[in-house]
Symmetry: C2
Subunit: 230 residues, 2 copies
């Protein structure tokens, strides 16, 4: 495509701006002591269901907040707000970022969304990206930990087909494990494909429905946060 | 984002070029009498499994070909080639388009891929787009029929969250119906959300695993092709 180079130039300009904004964000997160986790996956891999579980587990002993990106609707923010507040009503620390036609979140969107929040009063901030295995890969959001989720229903070769998103993540979460038998999920192949793309990547098998695997993941999260504070 | 307008300009330039290339393609498809169907969906919605079924069903009485886009690997082309040839070996009329970092197919990629093919000897050409619910929406590929697939495991609100991809498609295919009970799929909500975004859209419930719903869909396809020739 002869037009690609121009698009690449503009993209590189945007990425450079984004990297600067992400660096500023990361410093701010570090200073205020909030541990920031972002989630990327294809649409429907179960980011919101996973986060509902995580927020419900953490909220009794931690101060948690969440941002969630979608092209349209605030459905996910409503779901997460319920999980944050324990069903007691509206939680002020969940916000939807509606991107219109933009297929990813950018650092400046995060900076705008947290304006007015007392970050120093938070333990964890979760950022659920737009469901997309391509666009979010190259945008740093200033997070401490980036998770890539993929569900057992998606096909074991996703890491090979979308190597960049796996390469730019810190840990992988295999979701919907309760459906593994029904879809004849080949766990060995899935793990092999993750390791082929990102050797040594820590991987967790979970089910937001049954709760399977959530304890191991939450221990990992806690360890990461503690190590970050050292 | 103050940088967005420039990106939008470049995108519009690319879209204009693409529209011209797509118009040329569409004329060529029309003249040669090949009926062209494209498929869009999120990663892992089951485009390839669905196409395997379709190609197997059609190949005895029709001349079929397929193009398949992915960022990396030719896994899907290999799967479709087996379906096209009935397991007898390599089919020359299946081709993988590897896009690198590009999250969608463009009309020029299609034109390049079919170079050297005798389109007038084909009845059907299927084009499986890159798995993505955002980027492919605005790129016309010269197809006669665009299908948007979404699986029962993805969540019933996908049409509301990704309205553009549903708006630019001609029919919707609900896949993995064999898993509907296991995931407590709410068919009424899914159909309501499709109709909210794209009133009157024809929708098919299928399972590539069990074959459920394939006959109704194939009849629809046949009718569309006949009508196109009139």
């Amino acid at each position: 495509m002869s037009v690609t180079p121009r698009l690449v130039q503009v993209r590189q300009h945007i990425l450079k701006r984004n990297d600067e904004a992400a660096r500023t964000l990361r410093s701010r997160f570090r200073e205020t002591g909030v541990f920031v986790v972002s989630l990327v996956s294809s649409p429907g891999a179960g980011k919101t269901a996973f986060l509902e579980r995580v927020l419900s587990s953490l909220r009794d002993r931690n101060r948690v907040a969440a941002l969630v990106g979608d092209l349209a609707t605030d459905n996910d923010a409503q779901r997460l707000a319920r999980a944050c507040s324990g069903g007691t009503g509206v939680s002020p620390l969940v916000k939807q970022i509606t991107t219109g036609t933009v297929c990813h979140l950018e650092a400046e969107m995060i900076a705008t969304a947290v304006e007015g929040w007392r970050l120093d009063e938070l333990d964890y901030l979760f950022i659920e990206n737009v469901g997309n295995l391509v666009c979010p890969a190259t945008f740093d959001l200033g997070e401490d930990l980036r998770l890539v989720l993929f569900s057992v229903t998606e096909g074991e070769d996703k890491p090979l087909k979308y190597p960049t998103i796996f390469n730019t993540a810190d840990a992988a979460i295999l979701t919907k494990m309760d459906l593994a038998a029904a879809v004849e999920f080949d766990a060995v192949a899935a793990h092999r494909n993750i390791q082929a793309v990102r050797p040594g990547m820590e991987t967790f098998e979970v089910s937001a429905k049954s709760g399977q695997g959530m304890d191991r993941w939450l221990n990992f999260l806690h360890r990461k946060k503690v190590r970050n504070e050292e």
